[in-house]
């Protein structure tokens, strides 16, 4: 399957960016320990934001790096969806690998609802990859994309979560499910709201990736291709 070939090559590319991998692995740890002291209940949400930020950044760079070779791959016979789905699969694989040690850390370090923690981490990985790819499609220059990512994460941390703007941010669900994970007794509606928010966000972001890729790599109307 050609999607798997694209995914494999994207994984190989990411695995060779050693500096990126080290930052990917360690940055969420800094987020975690920034709240581990007096506000340890926030460390779950912060580590998920750290993972979301680093994985989105990796996706942003992967998306930008692919821009020069993707037109060639389209010409060589790939369908557009094979290209972006393959890249997404690679980024999701990296994200899943990344969250395992953080889940184990929380499992050993904190007394919280671990099922909810696992869900936050999984949803964060699911959303972060298409978020970075969508940004790379909309903002082809890496610096601009990085600034937007920084702004989103900073707003996610500082905004009152009850405001409408906060609801529109891609990682808002982590606050809802994170609260469920630590409160006792917990309101089950938090889980429901968080999961619905993540699902809608995921659908919107994947649609954006699909639409922008389809437009960028479309067959132009002036071309008429006939089999030999």
């Amino acid at each position: 399957m050609r999607i798997l070939t694209v995914a494999e090559m994207a994984l190989r590319e990411i695995s060779r960016r050693r500096g990126v991998l080290i930052l990917l692995a360690l940055l969420p740890l800094a987020f975690y320990y920034s709240r581990r002291g007096e506000a340890y209940w926030q460390s779950v949400r912060f580590v998920s934001l750290g993972i979301g930020w680093t994985l989105s950044t990796a996706a942003l760079f992967a998306g930008n790096a692919a821009r020069t070779i993707e037109p060639r791959l389209r010409l060589s016979g790939y369908a557009t969806h094979e290209l972006y789905l393959g890249r997404l699969a690679a980024l999701w694989t990296v994200g899943l690998t990344l969250i395992v040690p953080y889940f184990l850390l929380i499992r050993l370090d904190l007394d919280v609802r671990y099922g909810a923690v696992a869900l936050i981490l999984l949803l964060t990985v699911a959303v972060a990859a298409p978020f970075g790819l969508a940004l790379s499609a909309l903002l082809p220059r890496e610096l601009e994309g990085m600034l937007v990512l920084l702004t989103v994460v900073a707003m996610q941390m500082m905004l009152d979560p009850e405001t409408t703007v906060a609801h529109a941010l891609p990682f808002w669900f982590s606050r809802e499910i994170g609260t469920y994970a630590i409160e006792n007794p917990a309101d089950p509606h938090l889980m429901t709201r968080g999961t619905i928010h993540a699902t809608i966000t995921l659908a919107v972001l994947i649609s954006m990736v699909a639409i922008t890729s389809t437009i960028r790599l479309r067959r132009r109307p002036h071309m008429s291709l006939a089999a030999q």
């Binding site: 070939t5 590319e13 791959l73 010409l75 060589s76 132009r220 002036h222 291709l225 006939a226 030999q228």
Partner: protein, 271 residues
């Protein structure tokens, strides 16, 4: 340099220039044996001597230019392209047949690369139409490769799009690389570590993977040494002899006799 080494290098240079080396090498060997002197003293460097001989035998290469005989594979009609208020392409027509090589020339900014990108379907013209019969291979002037993938991985990735298995794609890529004087692409590391010329060889090999019917090559020899440049034209002629339609954007006006037809995009030039 021993006599045998010199003769081998001389023969290779002649082959690069599409001249059968047998008679000329035999003649040089006889001369060297009779004189008993070192070949560098008698003839100088083999490449330079080959150039001198081929230039003197220029009539032997005149057969390279051919009239088109196959069916049209690429037909670009009345292509107009504007960037802002500036019109770069003014109703350009280009027709390339199977078994034909066309060179596109023109001053900087005359729209050579733009025309090729329009023909590849990568950008849209303001008006005009492009018809391609068969599959398309495109070699950009730069870019077109992934920094952190090796040459073999590029072959597999692009080959999969063409429907080739991993083994087939790697074998085809390595064979094409060897023809461009790049004998071991599998050990060259990732693309970002390649020299500019070797990276362009990778680009060129990728354009030809899967045996496309139409090849669009945008100054693909950037950074090539002289030998590789000659190898490049050998590859173009092999494609042409195999019935491919080949378009080469070039700025080397002295080499136009290598193409079957020339399209000059310089404003005011006859089309």
């Amino acid at each position: 340099m021993t006599v045998d080494d010199w003769l081998a290098a001389f023969a290779a240079e002649l082959r690069r220039r599409r001249v059968d080396p047998a008679a000329l090498v035999a003649e040089a060997a006889t001369h060297l044996r009779d004189s008993g002197r070192a070949p560098l003293q008698v003839f100088g460097p083999p490449a330079a001597y080959a150039v001198t001989l081929v230039d003197s035998l220029r009539g032997a290469t005149a057969e390279l230019r051919r009239a088109p005989s196959g069916e049209p594979r690429l037909e670009a009609t009345k292509i107009i392209k504007r960037y802002g208020r500036s019109t770069v392409l003014h109703g350009v027509d280009l027709r390339v047949h199977a078994g034909e090589t066309v060179a596109i020339i023109g001053a900087n900014g005359s729209g050579k690369s733009t025309l090729l990108r329009i023909c590849a379907g990568l950008i849209s013209p303001d008006s005009g139409h492009v018809r391609i019969r068969g599959t398309l291979g495109y070699c950009p002037q730069d870019g077109g490769t992934a920094d952190f993938l090796t040459a073999d991985e590029h072959f597999v990735l692009v080959g999969a799009g063409r429907g080739s298995s991993r083994t087939e794609a790697r074998a085809q890529g390595r064979t094409a690389a060897a023809a461009l004087d790049w004998p071991r692409p599998g050990t060259s590391g990732v693309a970002r570590q390649l020299s500019g010329g070797t990276r362009q060889k990778l680009n060129l090999v990728l354009a030809g993977l899967g045996d496309p019917d139409v090849l669009l090559l945008d100054e693909p020899y950037q950074g090539f040494d002289n030998g590789s440049y000659l190898d490049f034209w050998q590859q173009v002629w092999r494609w042409r002899d195999a019935g491919k339609a080949v378009v080469v954007v070039t700025h080397r006006l002295g080499e136009l006799d290598r193409a079957d037809a020339v399209l000059d995009l310089t404003p005011g030039s006859p089309r």
